[in-house]
Amino acid sequence: MQLTNRSKQVSNKEMTLAEKMYLPAITKGLGITLKHFFLKKATKPYPDVKTYLGPVFRGHHVLKRDEQGRERCTACGLCAVACPAEAISMVAAERTKGQETLYREEKYAAVYEINMLRCIFCGLCEEACPKQAIYLRHDRFVPVFSDRDEVIYGKDKLVEKSDDRYVRTNPNVQVTPTEPSLSRSVS
């Protein structure tokens, strides 16, 4: 059935005698594989060589602090609403006097948990956050787990350490490594 004038016949099932004789095509194929035998290999041996995945890669979550080291999160809950996997949960608390150096806004997340096994790393939480508090790091993966109890990350693992600040467009980042898994670092 011809519906348009743009169709183009592409399949030719007639074989020539040379094609019927098997050997020419096989020889050609052997030539190609032999060429590849001597070519440079495409493999990037992972644990030894770590690649850089670009500035927008969606990896490990991080709760940002601002320049003064205060947590940016104000526990508005937009990230949790935006999360299609419903992996984020939080408990908000009012900032009391004397905590101004800890939290930027009047409200803060007393508990902030992400279920890393539920999370699908879609980046919608990062997009939803009005305070630019949550980011998916482009320079780190979430490690693998061997225990079901480790998979819920609390603030201790999410809030960025003051000596390990995350910068989105960091020219120094050359690789995107995985954190060594917990059990492996023990043994």
Binding site: M1, Q2, L3, T4, R6, S7, K8, Q9, V10, S11, K13, M15, E19, K20, M21, Y22, A25, I26, K28, G29, I32, T33, H36, A42, L53, G54, V56, F57, R58, L78, V81, A82, P84, A85, I120, F121, C122, G123, L124, E127, A128, P130, K131, Q132, L136, H138
Partner: protein, 413 residues
């Protein structure tokens, strides 16, 4: 087995004794269970084949092994979160699904997307189509025993993934694009990578072609295997490369152009008799056509904005949210899903990796679709499988299955 087939099976065969006395001729059939975890079922579905020696007498499929209730989930999610579902439908070419969904919602909301965004979408969709066809044709090679070509192609696929990564930060389930445009413009790095891909990929593809296409062993395996006539194919609801292999040049991109496909010049490859070789060749040629489209889109990429001017639907930039009250309100409304969607119903189709991928959206004005139905091409054409492999051998059945490119995520939804 139908009575007709049983009669056929009984016609010739080995004598078997029965208790009644007279010798009855019964051909002993073997039941072979392909799947749900057979190595050649890419994705999971079960085929129960009645085999007569190596020949297939009849078959029956059981599907639903990864039924994930997409449509039910979609009724609970705001529009923008449904992108994460479409990602996982035909996961070999998720950008097409993503953007098909975005276009459906834009149609409903009446958003006009700027030309630049449309072109970027075309580039991404065609890259996705290439990635999809690469997997399908590569796997066909694997199923006929030639693994090496598949590995060569997968390396090229990695390069497409790199472009995705540059655009959206993920490889497979991209969550790419937003309602109203793209989430970010083509970066300089992305453009460089696309150019590089366009320059280097044809060489590899040609190498793959010369490894397989005219190799008699490969041709013998697939020529004349699993053919289906154009009438049967249409009756079975075939679309996409599988229908085109049967000789019908139906392509949504040409018939109902969307996202500026009318601007591009490309051919619709068609086959002769809808057999596996035709499907293979059509996919192969579609890769070339996609390359053509990408090249045209890259060369004529218009200047302008990469998102529509629709502040009530498209998230404002983060700096604005922090400073601007109006932007903050929009931001909250969009994230909470409280956008003012009109009541109505819309059907929008795009040319997915496997054919016409349709979105039938019924909106009652709420934050989530009232009903969202996906027309999944795989699901509809896979029912023809028993008819296509009847009379073929076991090896053929596997080749037919992989050439149909049945993707479980799309099949079961």
């Amino acid at each position: 087995m139908t009575t007709e087939e049983l009669d056929l099976a009984n016609k010739a065969g080995v004598p078997a004794r029965t208790d009644e006395g007279p010798v009855q001729y019964v051909n002993e059939l073997t039941t072979l269970n392909l799947g749900p975890t057979h190595p050649a079922t890419h994705g999971i579905f079960q085929n129960i084949l009645q085999m007569d020696g190596e020949k297939i007498v009849s078959g029956e499929q059981t599907i639903g092994y990864i039924h994930r209730a997409f449509e039910k989930i979609a009724e609970r999610r705001p529009f923008y979160q449904i992108t994460t579902l479409t990602d996982r439908m035909n996961y070999c070419s998720s950008p097409i699904n993503n953007m098909g969904w975005h276009m459906t919602v834009e149609k409903l909301l009446g958003i006009e997307v700027p030309k630049r965004a449309q072109y970027i979408r075309v580039i991404m969709m065609e890259l996705a189509r290439i990635a999809d066809h690469l997997v399908c044709n590569g796997i066909l090679g694997v199923d006929t025993g030639a693994l090496t070509g598949f590995v060569y192609l997968f390396e090229e696929r990695e390069k497409i993934y790199e472009i995705y990564e540059e655009m959206c930060g993920a490889r497979l389930t991209t969550n790419m694009g937003r309602i109203g445009g793209m989430e970010r413009d083509l970066s300089a790095e992305a453009i460089r990578k696309i150019r590089k891909f366009l320059a280097e990929f044809p060489k590899v593809l040609r190498e793959f072609e010369s490894l397989l296409n005219r190799n008699r062993i490969f041709m013998d395996r697939i020529v004349g295997v699993g053919g289906i006539s154009a009438e049967r194919a249409l009756s079975y609801g075939f679309t996409g490369p599988n229908l085109r292999a049967a000789g019908v040049d139906y392509d949504v991109r040409v018939m109902n152009p969307y996202s500026s496909y009318e601007d591009f010049e490309f051919d619709i490859p068609v086959g002769q008799s809808g057999d596996t070789f035709d499907r293979y060749m059509v996919r192969n040629e579609e890769i070339w056509q996609s390359l053509r489209i990408i090249e045209q889109a890259m060369n004529n990429l218009p200047e302008g904005s990469y998102f529509a001017d629709a502040p009530q639907y498209y998230l404002p930039p983060k700096q604005e949210v922090y400073k601007n009250m109006e932007a903050l309100i929009y931001h909250f409304k969009i994230v909470m899903g409280e956008i003012d969607a009109p009541v109505g119903e819309v059907y929008h189709a795009v040319e997915g990796g496997n054919g016409e991928l349709g979105f039938y959206l019924v909106s009652d004005g709420g934050r989530a679709p009232y009903r969202l139905h996906f027309r999944r091409p795989c699901f509809i054409y896979y029912q023809a499988y028993p008819e296509m492999c009847k009379g073929a051998t076991l090896s053929d059945a596997i080749v037919i299955m992989s050439s149909m490119n049945v993707i479980a995520g799309e099949l079961d939804a």
